[in-house]
Symmetry: C2
Subunit: 420 residues, 2 copies
């Protein structure tokens, strides 16, 4: 009897170990391949940004660049591109991600940044990773459930290579798809591929973002109340940003049904706004401007300008992510708020980034982890408080309309609804 | 039309804001009250440990102390005390936690430590917090769903005050109850009460644990492989520890149906083992020994001795938690492993603690966060890797048999089973 039990036991463990070994093998493979793709993307993006820095007149080619992007998607018959939404719905609903998504989003995001569209790169990284992950899954005939794990694994690898935050990258793809559910069955693949992709990117000389906070007061009632007020405002800003992104997108689609006309018009609007502003601070990812938020003052309207420029850029049909723009918005508003209310502006910029990121992605754990990776661990209680408040007060809005919120934010109840 | 929409919108936000304000108010209240109770518990525990340090002969009174504990539970008619299991099942199944659980576990855990039983204090903190949280909920006539949030909020507050890790405390109660589901509806109450309880404990002079890692090599293939091997072994140790805890408990219940006889026998066994070992390193929480793991070498069998002593102590009916003992086991095995394999023993002790904690609680996010709070952020990639591996390889075993694992660890699938 005991002998048979022992054999049964061993067999079960052998099966689990086999499953785990298979996942380790494929996450190493994904980490290497997608890490390399992510690293290439990172350097192309940097090169595009540097080129525009050296030749600011490239912004005048933005409308023409837009035509090239639409042409590219037209050529590859992917006009109705749902972007990052497809990556999310592939995991919770089993949709299929075409492999052509990876090269398309790669090239079009680089074009967008080369000519000065205002957008991020993490959304693009998620698409590259998700699409390649799904491709690996199909290539090796994985079943549908396993392909989902590979999609998450790919998302983590690409995010990690591009942004240099392996911890947040590993957790983000488990957390963001269905808020309230942690897809822990993907934990080992996501962690391994994320760590490997980060190592590869580092080997090639990619440097993760890191922002230095000038001063962090001891955690006490008054600074905590100030940070709470900031978080409440950041929650409102997150809602506004989501509404603007989706609203502009709907409006542009309604007004200009032809993709070429739409991107041409949008391109001219971004160009005109840039000329009106008189600098290219708000174009591209805007990371130099985010750095400025950690060392000095910024105009009070900076966050709003970035929101408008990003909403127009993406509504027009340019490609790129929404995550770095939300960092920009949070940092710019936080820095301004800190200067007004008399609390370390760089700490407020950091807490603002965490709060807006959480507000638009509904992913509090990732928001926390990304704060630790970007700013260090010291300001932890401030990030924790601002992220919790922003999570609760930002309602059911989100960047990705295919994201699901499984449990109510306000009571212990199953709701399973999509974000707005 | 737009006016009516706007009013509807405002009303909804007013309701959500009202809900949030109510939670803020009650989490401040819980944070203060339960923070005070946790602080009192912290100091009583320290006093009991110091007293035993000064008068080592107190260990001879362990069997008598056991009788007092059983007598206490008998007096308050709580003989069939399910312990921390009840706190977990109160949240996922709506069980009722009696308010008398708080003073009973408080006194009996202090007695256990005074006389040298081997146990932790976090499980006790969870019971104190959960029971007081539920009490506050009943006092103010909260409905059942809201009471669950207050239980989690209380767990966070007490854990935070007792162990000085507000971040892990806030997340633990959301994560541990139903693995795979994050009870984010409790995020704001848990965060606020945890931060407040920690502030209160600090004001009274409580000092959170912190361990210093001597050296952390750059993250690269060889040390990553060594840490992976450690994690695999720690996963096996976690399973063994859970099997021992539950097995000894079942055995003692079967052999000694009378609670007084059971605790008397167990007390004599612990006493005999302590005399055989010749030191009291393994009695109480064993935190001085954990500190030793971070600065030198430990015997290879140390982890096993702690497992046996803890399993006997708890099976006999002494009170206390299992979390600090699992830290002890992980640190002792990690330190030994590091010395054998030639990787920073203090780093291995830290990674081992994270891995064993994750293996027995099935809570990877909390395990990560507690590593950051106890050891700092620098060794992050090692903790991430060892925790992910231990999560996957530790199977469906756990400290708390009422814990639910909602999604399979091996594939993207709903399973909703209890741990073993």
């Amino acid at each position: 009897m005991i002998y048979r039990l022992f054999i049964k036991y061993l067999r079960k463990y052998y099966l689990r170990l086999k499953t785990s070994l298979k996942w380790i093998l494929f996450s190493v493979l994904s980490g290497i391949l997608i890490g390399l793709a992510g690293t290439a993307f990172y350097f192309c993006m940097n090169y595009a940004s540097d080129l525009r820095g050296a030749f600011p007149w490239l912004i005048f080619l933005l409308p023409a660049g837009g035509l090239a992007i639409v042409g590219l998607y037209h050529l590859f018959q992917n006009q109705k591109d749902p972007g990052t939404n497809l990556v999310l719905s592939a995991v919770h609903s089993g949709d299929h991600i075409p492999i052509r998504m990876a090269p398309l989003i790669f090239a079009s995001t680089v074009l967008t940044h080369l000519f000065g569209g205002s957008a991020g790169r993490e959304g693009a990284a998620l698409q590259i990773g998700g699409s390649l992950g799904n491709g690996i899954g199909r290539l090796f005939h994985f079943n549908e459930k396993e392909q989902k794990v590979l999609i998450m694994c790919g998302m983590s690898a690409a995010f990690s290579a591009v942004f240099g935050t392996p911890l947040a990258a590993a957790v983000f793809s488990m957390e963001v798809i269905s808020v309230g559910i942690m897809h822990y069955s993907a934990i080992l693949p996501c962690v391994i591929s994320s760590l490997i992709a980060h190592q590869i990117a580092s080997c090639f000389g990619a440097v993760g973002e890191h922002f230095i906070i000038q001063s962090i007061p001891d955690f006490a009632l008054i600074p905590a109340l100030k940070i709470s007020l900031l978080a409440v405002l950041c929650a409102v800003i997150s809602i506004l940003f989501c509404v603007m992104l989706h609203g502009f997108s709907d409006l542009f689609r309604k007004l200009f049904q032809n993709g070429y006309v739409r991107i041409l018009t949008g391109g001219f609007i971004v160009l005109a706004l840039t000329l009106l502003i008189g600098s290219q601070d708000y174009n591209g990812t805007g990371i130099p401007f985010i750095e400025q938020c950690f060392s000095g003052t910024v105009p009070p309207y900076a966050f709003l300008l970035k929101m408008i420029l990003t909403a127009v850029t993406l509504a027009a049909g340019y490609k790129g992510g929404e995550i770095v723009p939300s960092f920009f918005v949070g940092a710019a508003f936080g820095c301004f708020f800190g200067n007004v209310i008399g609390l370390s502006p760089s700490l407020c910029a950091a807490a603002g980034m965490g709060a807006v990121f959480c507000g638009v992605t509904n992913s509090p754990i990732t928001s926390l982890l990304i704060c630790f990776e970007l700013f260090g661990f010291e300001g932890m209680p401030y990030y924790l408080l601002s992220i919790a408040l922003s999570y609760v007060l930002s309602g059911y809005y989100g960047l990705y309309q295919s994201q699901k919120i499984i449990y109510s934010k306000y009571k212990n109840q199953y709701i399973n609804r999509k974000t707005r």
